[in-house]
């Protein structure tokens, strides 16, 4: 679906409730930012901050489309602050940029992304090609490659541990990363590295 203001793809699908009338707005990232700023009455104030949009109902209305009916501005403010356990991106940052932070976001924000993706694609189930290589032994195939993506969180944890001089935790994280990497490195890549 295209943005109503330009040729870019619409990534924000907004339902406005105005005096009982329902109006749908489909916008790209850039125009959505302009639009939401207008709803907020200018540039001042981060929409994610507590209390932003409160009382006016504008922001709640603006996002009730993709996020489900009945959510209040307060709910949204809480949601906006939620962040990914792996990459640390907040939902607000995703809404603002239109780009996710890491593969785990699809699971972390699954409930919120589901209606958005259904709106974009008219579907929520992949029916195309799949990786031919099985997941490593002991990994639940239903979680896809999320076990490997866990490395992103471990790397952040390791950095934080180092900065607070907690070298024991840093070492544990490093060993965990190595273990996961080893389990997930494809046999063909390992063979290539050995030959190199």
């Amino acid at each position: 679906m295209k943005c109503q203001q330009c040729d870019n793809p619409a990534v924000f699908h907004i339902t406005e409730l105005e005096a009982g009338n329902v109006r749908e707005v489909h916008l790209c990232e850039e125009h959505a930012r302009v639009y939401l700023n207008q709803s907020e009455g200018g540039d001042g104030g981060e929409p994610g901050e507590p209390g932003a949009g409160e009382g006016k109902g504008q922001k709640g209305g603006a996002l009730s489309g993709p996020l489900g009916v009945g959510q209040t501005a307060e709910d949204l403010a809480v949601l906006d602050k939620r962040c990914c356990d792996m990459c640390g991106i907040t939902f607000f940052e995703f809404r603002n940029q239109g780009r996710l932070g890491c593969p785990h976001d699809y699971l972390q924000f699954e409930k919120e992304l589901d209606p958005l993706i259904a709106n974009i694609h008219g579907a929520t189930e992949h029916t195309g090609r799949r990786p031919s290589r099985p997941v490593p032994a002991g990994v639940d195939a239903e979680s896809g490659t999320d076990g490997l993506t866990a490395i992103i969180g471990l790397r952040r944890g390791m950095k934080e541990a180092i900065s607070r001089e907690d070298y024991e935790s840093a070492k544990e994280a490093r060993d965990a990363i190595r273990g996961i990497e080893d389990a997930w490195t494809p046999p063909a890549a390992k063979a290539g590295e050995e030959n190199a």
Binding site: V11, C87, A123, H126, G128, R129, R130, P131, T145, L148
Partner: protein
């Protein structure tokens, strides 16, 4: 690889051969893929980007993808060289303008291009001349399968291949054709055609993809959705509509010749005249006039120009190509150089440049 060796060829998408190449310039399929163990590019640290680039570069180099690939370190290229690759459709504008570690692997025929650290970690592209979507799809499958042997792409059984933007999730596929539709523009039917394409969830873009304006009556038609249908179905969705568009354009061309021959002959002759004599000319105007002359050649209204010449000029009059061809002469403006290049070309010279080798 030396980029300058490419200035002497015109690249796959303007080769002007293949089925229905009077209307279909090129067929392209791209796949968006990410490594599961790194954040997406927009969230990645400088170190993450460097690691992603290294892992992909090294592992891709170790597998046979059906073609010998040359790797170009885009992060360390001069701006003119990045523009040059954009003009040849080997990298996107976003990739050219991005920051940090990134690169592109291309084959000598310029059919295969693997962009590393674009919006997604890996964007695989296969481009064939003329109407050959199935050929491009068969080729890209081989490349994708080979790379998948040595990396773990981010994947979830329900969502499919996981991408930085939810608009690409699932198959990660974009299937597109570049069409030359001058008669539909002249007969003012183009908007109607686009409206009907939107209704069946197909996107219409300009020459250089997302956000670009249509120049010289060239349009890209592509799928909008990537989830819920198989890759074969999405390839077929675009493949099904192309013959209809070809038919519309051919009928519009027939109409122009039948009903307004004098008029259309006048238009293409004037376009040809300006290209041969102008002293200063912009890129946009050049594209527009070359488009009309291209149609004139195909309708038999201009006899002494070859189609391959027009295709060649379409790329060589682009700003970065022109700058490379003229060999560093900074004395005159692009528009003056472009006009000089065109005049010289139509006088029968191959290249007016003082040096094509630097």
């Amino acid at each position: 690889m030396r980029l300058d060796t490419l200035t002497n060829s015109i690249g796959e998408w303007l080769r002007g051969t293949g089925p229905d190449s009077d209307i279909v310039m090129s067929s392209r399929v791209r796949l968006a893929r990410n490594l599961a163990q790194f954040p997406f590019v927009s969230r990645a640290t400088e170190q993450d980007r460097a690691d992603t680039e290294r892992v992909l570069r090294e592992r891709i180099a170790a597998v046979p993808v059906g073609r010998e690939l040359d790797y170009i370190d885009v992060g360390h290229l001069e701006e003119i060289d990045r523009r040059f690759l954009v003009e040849r459709q080997l990298i996107s504008r976003e990739h050219a303008d991005a920051q940090g570690a990134r690169g592109v692997a291309i084959d000598r025929l310029e059919q295969v291009s693997l962009m590393i650290n674009e919006e997604d970690h890996l964007r695989i592209q296969c481009m064939h001349s003329g109407l050959d979507l199935h050929g491009a799809w068969e080729q890209i499958k081989v490349v994708d399968d080979q790379i998948e042997r040595v990396v773990s792409y981010a994947f979830h059984p329900r969502w499919g291949y996981l991408t930085a933007c939810p608009t690409n999730v699932g198959t990660g596929i974009r299937v597109s054709v570049m069409l030359h539709l001058p008669a539909l523009v002249i007969t003012r039917q183009i908007d109607k055609v686009f409206r009907s394409l939107h209704k069946i969830s197909l996107a219409v873009r300009g020459l250089y993809g997302e956000g670009s304006q249509a120049m010289g009556d060239f349009y890209q038609i592509s799928n909008q959705t990537t989830l819920g249908r198989t890759e074969d179905e999405l390839v077929q969705q675009v493949a099904d509509v192309v013959p209809v568009l070809i038919d519309y354009e051919r009928r519009a061309r027939d109409f122009l010749v039948r009903e307004t021959q004098q008029n259309v002959h006048d238009q293409v002759s004037r376009a040809y005249g300006i290209l041969r004599t102008a002293q200063t000319i912009s890129n946009e105007e050049t594209m527009q006039l070359l488009s009309r002359v291209r149609m004139g050649v195909l309708l038999g209204l201009i006899g002494d120009v070859k189609l391959s010449d027009i295709n060649s000029l379409l790329i060589r009059t682009q700003p970065a190509h022109l700058q490379k061809l003229r060999g560093g002469d900074e004395d005159s403006s692009d528009d003056i150089e472009r006009a000089r290049y065109l005049r010289h070309h139509f006088e029968g010279g191959d290249s007016p440049s003082r040096s094509t080798a630097n």
